[in-house]
Symmetry: C2
Subunit: 420 residues, 2 copies
Amino acid sequence: MRRSQLFIKTRKEAPADEESKNAQLLIRAGFIYKDSAGVYALLPMGLAVIENIKRIVRHEMNKQGGNELLMTSLQRKELWEHTDRWDDAKVDIWFKSHLANGSEVGLAWSHEEPISDMMREFIASYRDLPAYVYQFQTKLRNEVRAKSGVMRSREFIMKDLYSFTRSDEEHQKFYDSMTQAYLRIFKEIGLGGDTYLTYASGGAFTQFSHEFQTVTGNGEDTIYLDREKGIAINEEVMSDEVVAQAGVNRDKLDKVQAAEVGNIFSFGTHKSEQLGLYFTDEDGSQKPAVLGSYGIGVTRLMGVVTEHFADDKGLVWPENIAPYMVYLAGLGDSEAARQAADAAYDYLTENHIKVLYDDRDERPGEKFADADLFGIPYRLVVSDKSLAAGGLELKKRASTEVEIVQKDQLANRLKNPLQA
Amino acid sequence: MRRSQLFIKTRKEAPADEESKNAQLLIRAGFIYKDSAGVYALLPMGLAVIENIKRIVRHEMNKQGGNELLMTSLQRKELWEHTDRWDDAKVDIWFKSHLANGSEVGLAWSHEEPISDMMREFIASYRDLPAYVYQFQTKLRNEVRAKSGVMRSREFIMKDLYSFTRSDEEHQKFYDSMTQAYLRIFKEIGLGGDTYLTYASGGAFTQFSHEFQTVTGNGEDTIYLDREKGIAINEEVMSDEVVAQAGVNRDKLDKVQAAEVGNIFSFGTHKSEQLGLYFTDEDGSQKPAVLGSYGIGVTRLMGVVTEHFADDKGLVWPENIAPYMVYLAGLGDSEAARQAADAAYDYLTENHIKVLYDDRDERPGEKFADADLFGIPYRLVVSDKSLAAGGLELKKRASTEVEIVQKDQLANRLKNPLQA
């Protein structure tokens, strides 16, 4: 993409009312637009990051046997009354509205109830189990305060998978397999080294849920982390008993700030009983299906990655989710440099390496500042100076080292199968 | 995909309260699930059709210079008050809700106002124009009656592009270019031969808008069609004057039922004036930007295609948007037939031809009925009989002719670049 064709405008300052570091940077770099408190539109480069995260998540969900579908945002009140989650006193983040005939509807903040209800049509016999379905859906949550940018916004894209299994054993097997899938996802996204399986509150349904927490300065959660074992305990459930159950050593626990990037949850058979989701087992008996739910806040992940990697020059994207792999800047007015920059652009495009070509008539300093602000993994400079030195100047975003490379080496040097 | 891995359940009967042919069929075939009146979830094969339509539309929008982004569903009341479109008496399809602090918010049914308001940050000078942005976004519309299935639902995916131009001339040039892009899209989707540019009401802003209407029995609109010129007039604006302006011959007009599949609309500078979207022109003067909006109801298109092509056996998908290209059915218990079916499945998968492999232990009649109900373009049968005849039986969905083909011929025979 040529910069002159990209819909973008950078800003020197974030909006005065924006408190969070992630939204401040993403707004300044033109990745998102703030419509109102906690409500952000995705501009082209922000949308590209989101689509990259979705592709990584989708790949792992499909490997788990997940079938992608898309549930509705409009939800029926009666389903949530069955499970006592309609009342604003019980669930305080509902957005609710009315049909033209006056009856109340809810706007989706989660989908356990509608999906379990739908499953009554799909699951009749043990032969219909297990069933794993997931979606990328825009959730609306009526947060009282929205001051964490895209890490806790009122509207965001979430991946939610729901598992329906025949028994606790079958459930546990899938739950463990999803745990590993989640760890692979966070590694693939670039957060692997700092993301930990974390014991957290299980609410009314189970002793624990499991969160995936990324250690990062501005995280909203406090966790106790055993780095050696790669296991953490959320402060909210911290006790001697839990330390023992988690099999960690209390003396080795670090207390750190972290941001939740995913969570997985066992509901047991409680919701199936409430909603009437029963199947006929092999012995002829009627049994409620075991429900698990598995969330990843996709928009939130963009915020956590921002907070985790950004430096004083701007964003820093891991290669697998960067909107572009290369920021190509042609400098100077010489015809030779311009032609070499055009040739590099054509070469990268033909080799399916995503490139943003800054073809504007701007000072080098402006172009370098934008390359840094956008956080594109590689900056490639073509100028009379680079040509005199024998090629193109390649620099990694987070490094100060510059190397001279030949155009034809770039495919081998940069190619990432995920970017193809 | 193996049928045994696909999340699907077919139904003999549609829900009793479902009046529309498109939703009845899509529900019976397991493409969609009806949550409530006018509210449908997309099951895996329905989602695949939607994604195929999006890919075709996206390709053309990018060619027009469109930048994809994603605006928010939550919208600010004040913007719509500025343009007098907040009042339910003026716009009767709003879903509205409240933030936790009590202030009212709207749920997106369209985006002219929020996008124009956002553009005040992006457009300062004539150098920032033209700007073309588009999205695939889930719209909510509070339809009083929802009886047309996915052709007019309360929640649906829409492609909406907005153009901001410097002058009426620049606007008209883009508008004409989009008209051609739309005609290419409908051709690519498979509706080309029966879709016509149609003069329709322009409301308060312009004399006409243009709709794209597909001639189909259950269409909600009546149009007067000049088949020779490929131009139609919506009954709502039909008059001698419009006949003259459209340059058609009144004697040659056929009165037919049709379904709207897209519409394009000129707003002039009215909205920019209301919302304060001005730019500095080359001569230093302040001018309001010219706005155009260009919609395609993606979910609706799935419904129109269903109504247009379906027969008494079920759905019939054009190849470019079919969820799978091939329905592969292995018949009989012989080891030879099973191995040949597995080999055909592997071959098609390796050649990136989307195949649904009915690997179930079911009677041939059941498998054939599902292949027809799902509307997959090609049915491929592997059985002792087909092997004795020298290969595999290939049949087009809408044909009764069966031909024997060799496995290795299938890639050339079936490959569609769009399916890759």
